[in-house]
Subunit: 299 residues, 2 copies
């Protein structure tokens, strides 16, 4: 059984790292209604699926729940070893709906697609200077992505890969600690091989193991909210970057700088308001339905 | 009335520059069957539509003619001032079908999407050294794109725009002349404002003018083959880069280095063979249909 939501955040993240290419069809189907129908993340959705060094990107600046493209994803062979996805609620609303403002973001480094999706608000991060990469849109998230890549690119191998994981992770911890100062920085960052996951405040993980055609398969799912209630999702330790490779966690390291709780509390309050309004709407619809039945019974 | 094809090339290009945002729905509908049904460009298709500084990319490594996504494009608001599209025939076939090998290609420079689509074969261009940009896939086309951007980026404004058109055009002529040495280099290159079109051997242009809500609208269509036969398409002068801005040609400049005619002749021969096979298949289908009718008449 799926869990529509427990609590609520500004955006929601869902990603996968797997030993063998696979799709996220079931999890994406559970994510879809949370983008605008069950939850108010109605300002955009995006999915990045890796095909060798390149990320196939599907995204739209509209609610996932009513998107025909999202609904058709199963037709487009969305199998890969790494998949990132995101449903967005623009905050502030002035940083509006547009393709450029929709996650995941993508840049090529050394002939590899690097992709990024973020949950949180990083007020003022645009004061950090950028050099090689610049945002196409107006979000703090894309600015943070450019900031990370500007710094990381000098510590990657010539082909955009991770030659020295300790070195790369140390650099990422340094820049993520800087991000943490501006707000909440839960994110996914990947080059199609390694998946870096920063749990700043709130991210969950599920491991699955099975065999596919006699080959051992390991899959790790990462999500803002647990996607199912019958499986053993664990909450990642806040202020930690975890590194996944082919379905296994291969490293983790702490970042510094706790997110302020104000934004989180405000979200919880708004979530409660949304729940109340949804419940009222449902009660209203039931009342109208009941009145219609009464009418038919009388006529 | 549409023209299915006159002659045939390895890939086909279609682009638009317009004063006011508009879509390419009719032209794309005419292009769709040429990607695998009427013509053998069945290895991929792509459309880049600009939304401010960002290009929305839709592409798939499969035949446009049978693509559900291509067929659904009208649902996704594909309006813009600049649109690039491409249908691909892999040549050589070893540089196979993949998302990374499908045009248009895209890179961010100065916070703008630069996009590129190419028709032709540039054998050996991968020996040209690259610095800032590297291919995600294995095509000569993407290598050429990276080569152009590596050179162009130093002559752009800080926001990825064209500050000095003469300067930018001179740089582009220099690198395009280098490309010409490797083969056939018909291409579109854009940053969402300016559209640079290199007619190396064979490209056509159509201008349309009208009023939209009292505003003057100018649209320029560029295509490998004329898309309609009742309009006045003109053939661009070979070895020329033309620059379009908001539906008007604002500059042009000659490149050097004629493409060899061997590849062109081979394509024409293959096109003739494809036409013959299509005609035979159609005759065969008609014969079967006629025999079926005879059967029904007898029974």
């Amino acid at each position: 059984m799926s869990i529509p939501w427990k609590g609520m955040t500004m955006c929601e993240l869902l990603a996968m790292s797997a030993a063998l290419p696979t799709d996220l069809e079931t999890s994406l189907a559970l994510l879809k209604p949370r983008g605008g129908e069950l939850c108010p993340h109605a300002d955009g959705w995006g999915v990045a699926v890796y095909e060798e060094r390149a990320a196939r990107l599907y995204k739209e600046p509209k609610a996932a729940s009513s998107s025909r493209l999202f609904g058709s994803l199963r037709d487009y062979d969305i199998s890969g070893r790494v998949i990132l996805s995101h449903i967005r609620r623009a905050n502030p609303a002035a940083i509006g709906k547009s393709y450029a403002n929709t996650h995941p973001f993508e840049r090529e480094v050394g002939g590899r697609s690097w992709t990024f999706a973020h949950n949180g608000k990083l007020t003022g991060i645009d004061q950090e200077q950028l050099t090689s990469f610049r945002p196409l849109g107006g979000t703090d998230s894309e600015h943070a992505f450019c900031l990370l890549l500007d710094h990381m690119k000098d510590f990657l191998s010539r082909d955009g890969g991770i030659a020295d994981l300790d070195l790369a992770l140390n650099q990422l911890v340094e820049k993520t600690t800087l991000m943490n100062r501006y707000g909440e920085a839960n994110y996914f960052l990947s080059n199609g091989e390694h998946l870096f996951v920063h749990a700043h405040t709130y991210l969950h993980m599920l491991e699955r193991h099975c065999a596919v055609d006699g080959q051992p398969q390991s899959v790790v799912l990462l999500a803002t909210q647990p996607m199912t209630d019958e499986e053993n999702w664990s909450c990642l330790v806040p202020n930690t970057i975890c590194v996944f490779l082919r379905g296994e966690m291969i490293a983790q390291k702490a970042t510094s700088g706790a997110a302020t709780q104000d934004a989180w509390k405000a979200q919880q309050k708004e979530a409660e308001s949304f729940r109340t309004r949804k419940a009222e709407a449902a009660a209203n619809a039931a009342r109208i339905e009941a009145e219609k039945d009464m009418y038919w019974e009388c006529s």
